[in-house]
Symmetry: C2
């Protein structure tokens, strides 16, 4: 089975209209995606979907980067990619000309990720499993083969990584059963976007508490009095025992961060 097309979609949602996703530095995000669909010469369902997230302007820079990777993806054999995913990553990151633009930072990095995520999705669809299950069923050495160790062997070699995973292998089925029974702990970041009204924050905090969340994140980095009021409201809504997290999204320098967090 071969990849016969790399479809690229510039997908945007006008989330800034409702202040969703707003924080101290991203005041008007339009949640967007440079979205990739890998088409194959296999069955109709043998496609792979992946995307990289952006917040609006510049999404077209990522779709342009995706077009630049097309020659490294279209025509590739799917089983060959799956047998050595680290080599596939490296073939994208080490294109002898494109690599100058990153390769493992910024636009090029997040665009490569959209393609590699689509490859994972394609493999999971072929195996008729969700991606987490595909990964959880892999042998330690298969997992390690997915990782490019090029610049980390002085800290961790492939053999050392396999050893870590093999040590944990006997308890894997138990841990999987626990996750399926209890779920995986997550926090919500949707109760306290910067542009939300006090009433909306109160209502969303109560709703998230009722939904079973135990950790809640609030955006800070605005006017100090506003930050204090908003954080206080969430604390009131969730009670004293649950975890309250704050995120200033790089708004503060070091001195400001220390002073503002002490005040909060």
């Amino acid at each position: 089975m071969r990849i016969c097309d790399l479809e690229i979609i510039d997908l945007r949602f006008p989330t800034s209209l409702t202040a969703d996703g707003t924080d101290a530095v991203h005041k008007d995000p339009d949640y967007s995606a440079a979205y990739v669909i890998l088409h194959t010469d296999g069955d109709a369902e043998d496609t792979g979907h992946g995307f990289t997230f952006t917040i609006g302007r510049g999404n077209e820079v990522c779709t342009e980067a995706l077009r630049a990777f097309r020659h490294l993806v279209v025509g590739r054999d799917v089983d060959e990619i799956a047998s050595d995913q680290a080599a596939f990553w490296r073939s994208l990151a080490c294109d002898s000309q494109l690599r100058w633009l990153g390769p493992e930072k910024g636009v090029v990095h997040i665009s490569m990720a959209a393609i590699v995520n689509a490859v994972w999705d394609l493999q999971a669809r072929r195996a008729r499993k969700p991606v987490w299950k595909l990964l959880a069923d892999m042998a330690p050495r298969e997992i390690v083969r997915c990782i490019d160790f090029q610049y980390i062997t002085d800290a961790l070699t492939p053999d050392e990584a396999v050893e870590i995973l093999e040590r944990q292998l006997p308890s894997r089925r138990d841990r999987e059963a626990t996750l399926l029974r209890d779920g995986y702990p997550a926090y919500t970041t949707s109760v306290g976007w910067m542009g939300y009204s006090d009433a909306k924050i109160r209502q969303l905090s109560r709703q998230a508490l009722a939904d079973g969340f135990t950790c809640f994140k609030v955006k800070v980095g605005g006017d100090p009095a506003d930050d204090e009021r908003r954080v206080g409201m969430v604390r009131d809504a969730i009670g004293p025992s649950h975890k309250l997290m704050i995120d200033a999204n790089q708004k503060w320098n070091v001195d400001e961060a220390i002073a503002r967090v002490r005040a909060l």
Copy 2:
């Protein structure tokens, strides 16, 4: 005077045909530039040129990024930009949506640099000076005003930076005279590109030595025997006292780097 257009040129040279610029990981670079011309409503010569360097494929990703910055540049007052260059940098780096793509890494970073370099060029042309002279004539506080201190104030504040520059101020004219008389030390990296023949490396080494260079860089990271022969040839050509530098361009991991450099 206002910036009335941001012209963007996708400029490419087929340098891979002659192996210029080749190294262990960039085997076929086509030296290219996402080239910017700032046009103003002033005199015909009041333009600013800047570019970001790439090695071919992906140059179009940078020109796309430059288009994304257009709304932050066209219409701006040139004197206002010049009076607070740090604020201009921040206005590019902190666009509330574009900043998600970097902002100070990869494609977005190098594309911003093309615009900021064009602003420097525009200022130097207006002052009828080369850029180095424009900078060398600035008062310490003017230089410091060009720098965005947002994330470095815990290491260095603007006042501390001014103090360092003021301490050096009395010797500035003498140092300028020395540079104008003796030049600024530079090394050549053009004698030992990876794809050059032995004969060409020998000839270029001798030529650079005759031109007055005292430091010479050779690309390594190929076959060990080839590396040794090429480095040895340059040492023979330049004699025992001049500085010989090597560059493997991220080809080696830590263990390899130690072993290969010891061997060389």
